[in-house]
Symmetry: C2
Subunit: 448 residues, 2 copies
């Protein structure tokens, strides 16, 4: 009998061995995890993170699972929730570009929390992370582009399936139980684009990690579900997409690895602004251009650049991450564009000092979002021009391993996290030979 | 400035006083709660309920909130989850007919658990339940019919908003906080029709109650969200409906009460079979018809009767609730149609004894689902005919208060629940004068 889509995914999850996973995929997984620890440390003291912890803690059990960048210890499901929240809260985490899924925030917190409670070696954790990420991104491909366009927050909605599959793998569930785990995840899946840019965004991202664990544990206990929760007539793919591409779930499964296409941001904020940020930093360093000299900036780029970032009057750190006017001003003022360039103080500075330039957007459909042409008119007369063809962080110009280590160090500094971050990086690079997969978690928390 | 839809709903929730609620609406709310205690007692030992408790308990805090029909005590959010699960698990709970929402299972567990932790009087609880139910059903109207038809489990998806609004009211949140609570609920909302008929259905129903509480508590703590989570471009109504009727949110708000249109089932299983069940019971009692004498049954009814219930070969209790063949056989064998007529033993009996009749379905578009014509051919020759025009439990023939009390007694007996159920009924009828709204919960649990 032909297997349905959920059964095929379950078989992939249950049968794939460590040896089946190519070396480049394994290495990309480690890069994703290094980036994860960096952004989770950064977000660990954000206001929405602190509120999540204080409001929800009364409804969690006591436990010994660690919260990255913090001292509290909580139960496995709540730890997964909180680490998912902090990893994603600044939108500085990773991106599977075709779907705009942030693949790691829903899955890594789940597999590390699970490993803290039920010890396993590094290979087992990496395999679970890779399989979960693969399923998450393939579900994303299958429901795209209508899913995100209509208004579902794809990181959360697809992430819970990835987390569930990852934990189901760590629990060695049968193929039938894997299908139930996917069905339970389908009952949990949530997340709306309308919530982006507000605290409430974090709820569905944290839930994706938490509920992935619960979905798999319920399946393990025989909590059964539909026979095809993904491909059924009223299953996830048909309900959550206006035009699902069911074949994208399975075409090349186990051969072409979606999770290996993951990318990492060198700057916070919308990816669509990254070429422009790079242009500003080069003009600052190479041409000595400064914010106070700029009269007008002409940006020729993909239409999304205009649609998403033409916000001359932003007043909050959250919104400044998608304002071209603020971003150009602060990058040309400070010569950098890290998280401190997008907080409320920085926003106040560009507003108060009147250094946000007039920006003229010129749509160019022939460009993709990784490139831009900038023309900057200055007070002194001459115009500066710069073309960025493949911004750092995009698929054609990935951050190097060393740059990811630097990002970890920078974000630790941003957070005021004093522990040895090189030790975290070393542990991640050595994860496939670690006997205790969760050992790295002991390097990432604060003493209680 | 004109209020957006979420702000109008928030204003309704924050400003409605007890005195604004008509007496018939208050009474219908009590009837809903009586029916809730009945179905929650019935479901309190079901296998999916027991698995929910055992798998999820390690991730809940200790607490003193009661589980209806059981002895364990847990935290507020987990109690709401579990009581939501048990109330709905047999699909024997209430129905808002236009939307097929089961309005009470997501909301009553939340308000009672909250009242156990933060004491309030009966009026406050009833008001919160009514306001929450009203918002839930109106959201359901606004997204119908495409929402359920496409595949969302409307009880869960709309229920979380109702529970959130109810708890937000009990917390006396400001109008702005009410909007945030709706936004948080939008980040939680989930539930797929594909999961119905399986254990995994219970996840989203329990979550609606649990997450309604968390949504409101987060909002109270300043966990903010979008300005119009319901009506925004990528807000709930637009994303979760192919053709939302936004005006149904607010037309007649506070004047026409949707929650007062609630109905209650005299029999378990699909409502579409209820006229047929009534026909069988009358033929059993009035004409002495017995299952073993039946050769063939001709059912003239709404097409949904055929589409949903033509299942001659069912082998499980869960599926027997939507099998006309099993239902006719067991009703004409035993002269009743309670929960014990839809368990695995009863299914085995109608199968083993070969008493499931041949059923001929005749579609009649002019009928609604509350009526049916039955023609029963017997072994002995003569045919019996019966017309049911408005089955008991439908809007035109509601269950009486006394019949709801009888339902409570029957379901308590089914569960083997030995406590005084008349005391529960009396407490519900007197809820609007109770000083301690949660007192009734102390009548519904088992000694620990």
């Amino acid at each position: 009998m032909t297997k349905n889509i959920s059964e095929q995914i379950a078989a992939f999850a249950a049968q794939t061995a460590w040896a089946d996973i190519p070396a480049d995929v394994r290495h990309e997984a480690k890069r994703s995890l290094l980036n994860y620890f960096a952004t989770a440390i950064a977000g660990s003291n954000e206001i929405g993170m602190k509120k999540s912890l204080s409001v929800l803690a009364p409804f969690a059990a006591t436990g010994a699972c660690k919260i990255i960048g913090r001292a509290e210890q909580v139960d496995m499901a709540f730890a997964a929730y909180l680490n998912g929240v902090s990893a994603n809260i600044y939108d500085f985490d990773d991106t599977h570009q075709e779907t705009v899924i942030h693949p790691t925030a829903p899955i890594a917190p789940a597999v590390f929390a699970h490993a803290e409670v039920r010890p396993c070696d590094g290979k087992a954790l990496l395999k679970a992370f890779i399989i979960g990420g693969e399923i998450e991104c393939r579900i994303g491909n299958a429901v795209s582009p209508s899913h995100y366009a209509r208004g579902w927050h794809i990181t959360a909605t697809c992430g819970v399936f990835g987390a569930s599959a990852a934990i189901a793998g760590m629990l060695d569930l049968s193929e039938e139980q894997h299908v139930w785990a996917l069905g339970n995840a389908a009952a949990y899946t949530s997340g709306l684009v309308e919530n982006l840019g507000t605290m409430s965004k974090s709820i569905s991202v944290g839930n994706a990690a938490r509920n992935g664990i619960l979905s798999a544990l319920l399946a393990q206990a025989g909590f059964s579900g539909p026979t095809d929760p993904l491909g059924g007539v009223r299953g996830f793919l048909n309900v959550y997409s206006d035009l699902p591409s069911l074949n994208r779930m399975t075409d090349g499964l186990g051969e072409v690895w979606e999770i290996a296409k993951n990318t990492y941001k060198p700057y916070p904020g919308g990816i669509v602004m990254h070429p422009m940020i790079e242009g500003c930093l080069r003009l600052y360093n190479e041409a000595g251009l400064r914010a106070e000299d700029v009269v007008e900036v002409e940006l020729t780029g993909h239409p999304l650049l205009r649609e998403r970032t033409d916000r001359p009057d932003v007043t909050t750190g959250r919104l400044s991450q998608i304002s071209a006017q603020h971003t150009i001003a602060i990058a040309l003022r400070r010569g950098k564009a890290g998280l401190t360039e997008f907080n409320d103080d920085a926003v106040g500075e560009t507003l108060r000092d009147g250094i946000r330039p007039k920006v003229r957007f010129i749509d160019d459909d022939s460009r993709d979002i990784a490139n831009v042409h900038m023309r900057v008119l200055t007070r002194q007369g001459p115009a500066h021009e710069i073309e960025i063809t493949a911004a750092k962080g995009g698929p054609d110009n990935p951050m190097t391993d060393r740059e990811l280590e630097d990002k970890l160090a920078e974000l630790a500094e941003f957070r005021g996290f004093k522990r040895d971050v090189q030790a975290i990086a070393d542990a991640v690079w050595a994860l496939d030979t670690a006997e205790d997969a969760s050992a790295v978690m002991r390097l990432t928390n604060l003493p209680s």
